[in-house]
């Protein structure tokens, strides 16, 4: 049998190869390169092996920041996912309110991160901000630049305000794709509202919820701009998340080696958690039969 070999086919692969190389492989390899070397300036590099990784993994500073990140993402997911589902459920399914609600929902998503940060920074100030001023007038001691709880609360509210819409829109898309017949069938069965939600809407939203979950986890785990604008990582180190710490190390202190090692560990954590989430959530309710009403 004669096979025709045509090497021109490689030409078709080159654009993708170049794109991926430029956008992902080369930058990552640069970081990898930094993470295993030390430099004292003058473009001289010394091989240090895994020393930076060991340092990072043992450093308390890293552990603290990681802990903050995990706590932050956990709180964000706990608020935004249920809230998003709730809002999506209460949105109209037809009529002229649909486009109005959708536009209103989409508005926060259009605002850039640093603008959101600035808005809330000014909003929360006691002297000129509406929120800060009102709180002060009500006798509530609210100050995000000196009180840890206030700082966290402000950043969380900012994120909820900014990103719950995304969860809403995803869930809404999942909800409207459920055929009307499901609801009819449930009515005929005499199923309660809760049963309809638990056994029809929730399973039907599973796909979009996985996406919402992953997107919100990744994004909240990589939070940078909001605390950077609002508190700069303070008070103390209380809002110094991994990303803020990373920037401090890489650009503030110019410790490229440890910063590179840290960013690689950071990325691996994101990948790992996402993988675990995805695997677990995709398998929920598929193999185990539920024996209850």
């Amino acid at each position: 049998m004669d096979k025709t070999y045509n090497n021109k086919a490689w030409l078709l692969v080159i654009p993708v190869f170049l794109l991926v190389a430029l956008s992902a492989i080369i930058p990552i390899m640069t970081v990898v390169n930094y993470s295993v070397q030390d430099t004292f300036g003058g473009n001289k590099f010394f091989w240090v092996g895994t020393e930076w990784f060991t340092d990072v993994l043992r450093s308390e500073r890293f552990h603290d920041a990681l802990g903050r990140n995990l706590l932050f993402s956990f709180i964000i997911l706990c608020i935004e996912i249920p809230l998003g589902i709730l809002i999506a459920l209460s949105m109209p399914k037809k009529g002229i309110w649909v486009p109005i609600c959708l536009v209103l929902m989409a508005l926060p998503l259009l605002i850039p991160w640093n603008v959101v940060g600035t808005i809330w920074q000014i909003f929360g100030r006691a002297d000129i901000g509406l929120l800060g001023h009102t709180m002060a007038a009500l006798g509530i001691d609210y100050n995000y630049s000196s009180n840890v709880f206030d700082a966290w609360a402000t950043i969380i509210i900012m994120d909820v305000w900014h990103w719950t819409s995304l969860v809403v829109l995803l869930c809404y898309a999942g909800l409207v794709s459920i055929p009307e017949a499901y609801y009819q069938a449930a009515r005929i069965d005499g199923a309660s509202k809760w049963s309809v939600f638990r056994y029809i809407q929730l399973p039907k939203m599973q796909g979009v919820l996985i996406i919402a979950f992953l997107l919100r986890f990744m994004d909240s785990f990589m939070i940078y701009t909001e605390p950077f604008v609002l508190t700069g990582g303070g008070p103390g180190n209380s809002t110094t998340f991994l990303s803020i710490d990373l920037v401090k190390q890489a650009i503030g202190q110019f410790d490229l080696g440890p910063a590179a090692a840290m960013s690689l560990v950071y990325q691996l954590i994101v990948l790992l958690v996402c993988y675990v989430f995805f695997t677990v959530m995709s398998n929920v309710g598929t193999d185990k039969p539920e024996v209850e009403e």
């Binding site: 009515r187 069965d189 056994y199 598929t286 039969p289």
Partner: protein, 359 residues
């Protein structure tokens, strides 16, 4: 017994259901036959109580149920889409109506297994319902309807999304299985063939009205008017306007002797309906009339051939057995036997249908 008295459903300015009266007996099989948008689903929703009629009354065993909410009516409904609880196993899906009704565990188990056996689902009871084939999913939905022991079972084109083989199988099994439960069984379909295969009684629907209700075979053989005849004919019935002059029917291509028993009919315009399989391409022995017309299309479907011809703005479809090659544009002769004529008067009411046995 389910009775609909002058039921209408108006949405905006259009009647989805227009003055429908029906009486459906216990243990009967009733087919709602009509094209898409004729009101089959609307009518079923009214019967189920999912919608309230704009006017008229719906009675179950003599008592009005218009105000009874749907979950208290003891009905079951199966849809064209395969509707099951997505996260449940087959077993849990079938058991769900019983659990809502608060039946004890032992009876649930017994009933679920019986229904599964009838629907040939026994090997799949522990599977997630989304991991089944379409046919199995629909059988699960049917088993759920069956197990409920409902007084009224509504099936809205339940087999339309299944493949041919499964459709044939279930079409035979379904009436038998549900007949045993003694429920009022209502089956909506767009296909005349399906109505004939199911038997029972048929109500033909057209633009929200019931045009005829009676034994399926009677409605098919003696449609009360042209609309019913067209609804109950697939491919559609051919219609040729003719003038009766004395003892003959005349049309642009010729004349044909009027059947003897209709000699008393007054002269005037009539619509002649003739089913596609009663048109012939070769000259038959009995008296017949010939039309010469060019072929516009021909389709071969399995072991049959559909030939479409057109003359004087009249389109005819001829169904012939066997695979024939007919060239488009070719002039062909089409023969009609007056014994097979459906004759409709100026108001499109049936005057005469072909003798049964000859159909």
């Amino acid at each position: 017994m389910l009775e609909l008295r002058n039921v209408s459903k108006k949405v905006g300015n259009t009647f989805h259901i227009n003055d429908v009266s029906l009486k459906l007996e216990k243990g009967s099989l009733n087919v709602l036959l009509g094209p898409t948008l004729s009101g089959k689903t609307s009518l079923m929703r009214l019967m189920a109580g999912l919608d309230k009629p704009t006017s008229g009354d719906i009675l179950m065993d003599g008592a009005s149920v218009v105000k009874t909410p749907v979950q208290k009516r003891n009905i079951a409904m199966v849809y064209q889409q395969f509707i099951n609880y997505p996260g449940f196993t087959v077993y849990e899906n079938i058991a769900s109506p019983l659990r809502v009704a608060g039946v004890d565990k032992v009876s649930i188990d017994k009933k679920v297994r019986e229904a599964a056996e009838l629907m040939k689902l026994s090997p799949y009871l522990d599977r997630g319902v989304l991991y089944l084939s379409g046919g199995q999913q629909q059988r699960t939905a049917l088993a759920r309807a069956l197990v409920k022991g409902a007084e009224l079972v509504l099936l809205d084109e339940p087999l339309a999304n299944l493949d041919y083989k499964l459709r044939e199988e279930l079409r035979i099994e379904l009436p038998r299985i549900f007949a045993e439960t003694g429920a009022i069984f209502v089956y909506a379909t767009t296909e005349p063939q399906e109505a004939l295969l199911l038997g029972g009684d048929t109500a033909t629907l057209h633009e929200g009205r019931i045009t005829q209700f009676g034994q399926t075979i009677d409605v098919h053989n003696n449609p009360s008017d042209l609309v019913t005849a067209q609804t109950f004919s697939d491919p559609p019935m051919n219609v040729i306007p003719m003038q009766k002059q004395g003892a003959q029917f005349a049309f642009s291509q010729g004349k044909v002797d009027c059947p003897e028993d209709l000699s008393g009919l007054s002269d005037g315009s009539y619509s002649i309906g003739i089913r596609p399989h009663h048109l012939m391409l070769s000259e038959p022995k009995q008296s017949s009339v010939k039309v010469v017309a060019p072929v516009s299309t021909s389709e071969i479907a399995g072991s049959e051939t559909f030939v479409h011809v057109a003359f004087d703005d009249i389109k005819l479809v001829i169904l012939t057995h066997g695979v024939h090659r007919v060239d488009i544009g070719e002039q062909i002769q089409v023969y009609m036997d007056p014994a097979k004529f459906f004759i409709f008067d100026g108001e499109n009411k049936l005057i005469s249908a072909p003798k049964t046995g000859a159909a």
